[in-house]
Amino acid sequence: MPADLKEGRIVVVGASLAGLRAAEALREEGFTGSLTVVGDEPHAPYDRPPLSKQVLLGQATAETTELPMRRDPDAEWRLGVRATGLDLLGKRVLLEDGESLPYDRVLIATGTRARPWPHEDEAALDGVFTLRSREDGAGLAERLAERPERVLVIGGGFTGSEIASACRELGVQVTVTERGPAPLVGALGGTLSKLAAVMQRNNGVDLRTGVTVTALNGNGSFTGAELSDGSRVDADVCVAALGAIRNVEWLADSGLAAGPRGIACDAGCRAFNMYGIVTDDVFVAGDVSRFPHPLFGYQLLSLEHWGNAVEQAEVAAHNMVNPGPLQRPHLAVPVFWSTQFGLNIKSVGVPTYSDHVVIAQGSLEARRLAMVYGYKGRVTAAVTVDMAKSLDYYRHLIETAAAFPPPPGAADRAIAADVTIPSDVPDPSVLSHGPTVALTGHLPDRRLTVV
C-alpha cells in the first residue's frame, strides 16, 4: 500500500446509491489515485425509491431515474459485469469475465436484490414480478398502465404497501396478502399497523392478513393464487414483495464475515473477517453491511435505508483515505420514509428495538401523529404520520437517550400521552416479507451459511 492514503488503487464493488456516493466522497476527500466502480447492472447508478411510487403512477419512467452526480468522481465504470470473488491475500476483485482488478483498498457496496417467489416455475409465469431493479419497475409500470383486472401483492411490508397504494391510485383492484396480523407490523409494531390496515381497506384494498399464498396458478400466464385459508384470488398480475436478499454469495470463499444478514463491519465501516478480526483494507457500506450501533446495545444493525447508504458511504470513503486517528464512526440514527395512501410515514431510530409506545402528539383518528417508542425506559425510536417537522425533536430525544415516555408539554399532545402500551413488534419470522431493519446480534464472527 502506498504510504499516502490519498493515492493508490481503490475498487468500489457496487454501482448503486452507496457506490456512487462513496466514489464522489473519495474525490472530495482528496483521493487522487485510480478509482474503479464495478456494477452488475448495465446502467449508470439509478435511484430505486421512485420505482414503487412515481414510476408506477406514470409520473416518471424507469429509464430516467439515474442519480445526479454531486461531482464527477473521475472513475472507471465497469458496468454490466458481476464480481465473482474477492482475494484478500492477493488483493484482487475477481470479475465474471475472468479479469481481476488489483486494489489497495476495496469498498463493498453490493446491496440487495428482491427475494423471488420460491417456486421457480410459478415465478416464471408471465405477469409475476418482483420490484427492485429498473427492469422490474418498467415491466410492472407497463402492466399497470394496461389496467389489469386485479393485482395480487404478496407481502404487506413497505414495498408491498406502496405498490398497493399505487394500484388504487390508478384505479386498479388489488389484493394484499400478509402472513402477519397487519401490514407494516414488522417495522412499526401493533398500533400503527392497525392504522395501516385501516388506510388500505378505506382505500379499497382487499387486505387478507394471517394468510400465506400456497401456489401461483397459470398456464404460461399468471391467473390467480391459492391461499392458506383455502380461498383463491383471481388476478392477472402478481408482485412478490417478500423482502430482500443480500448480495454476498460472491464472498462465500473470501474469508469475510459475510452471511444472509450481510457483511459484518465495525463502526468505521471496516469489514470483519470470519474470525472476527477487523480488516484494514476492506470496507463495507449500504444495505449489504451490518454494523454496531451504540444507541441500540451495540448490536449489529442491518438497514435497508436510502439515507444509511449515503451516510455510511461517506464515512467509509473518509476512512479509506485517512489514517486511524482521523477516522470517523458511522453513528447516524436510522431514518426512513414511506409515502402511501396519501400519508407520509417517517421513522427515526429503530422502532423494533422497543417494548412500549406512546402517542405523543396528534391522534390515529386525525391520521396525523407522532408515536414514540421506548425500550427499558428510554426513547429509542419515533414514527410520524404527516408530522415530519416534529421528527428532529424526537431524533434529539433518541440521540440523548432521553427517558421514556417523553417529557410533558408538547402541543397537540394526545389525551393518552402518558399511557404507554406494548409496542407489539412480532418476530420477523412470522411475516411474509423480510424486515427492512434488523438487529442481528453481537457476533461478527458467526459466519452464517450462505444460501
Partner: protein
Amino acid sequence: MRTVVDLTRCQGYAQCVFLAPGVFELHGEEGLLYATAVPEDQEDRVRQAAAACPVQAILLGEEVSIGAR
C-alpha cells in the same frame, strides 16, 4: 438533467412545489413526489427549488454517462 430528493431530510415544507410545480408534487399533506428527469424548460425553476429547500435536500445534476472512463 436529473434530480433526486433526499426524502430522509425532507420535512414537507413544499417550497419546491411552489417554485417548480411542474416537477414537484405533494401527495397528501406532506409526501413529496417528483419527476426524476428535469425538462429543459424547468431547469431554472428546479435550480430555484434546490436553492430554496429549507433542509437542502434537493440535488440537481448530470447522471453518470455510461462508457465514461
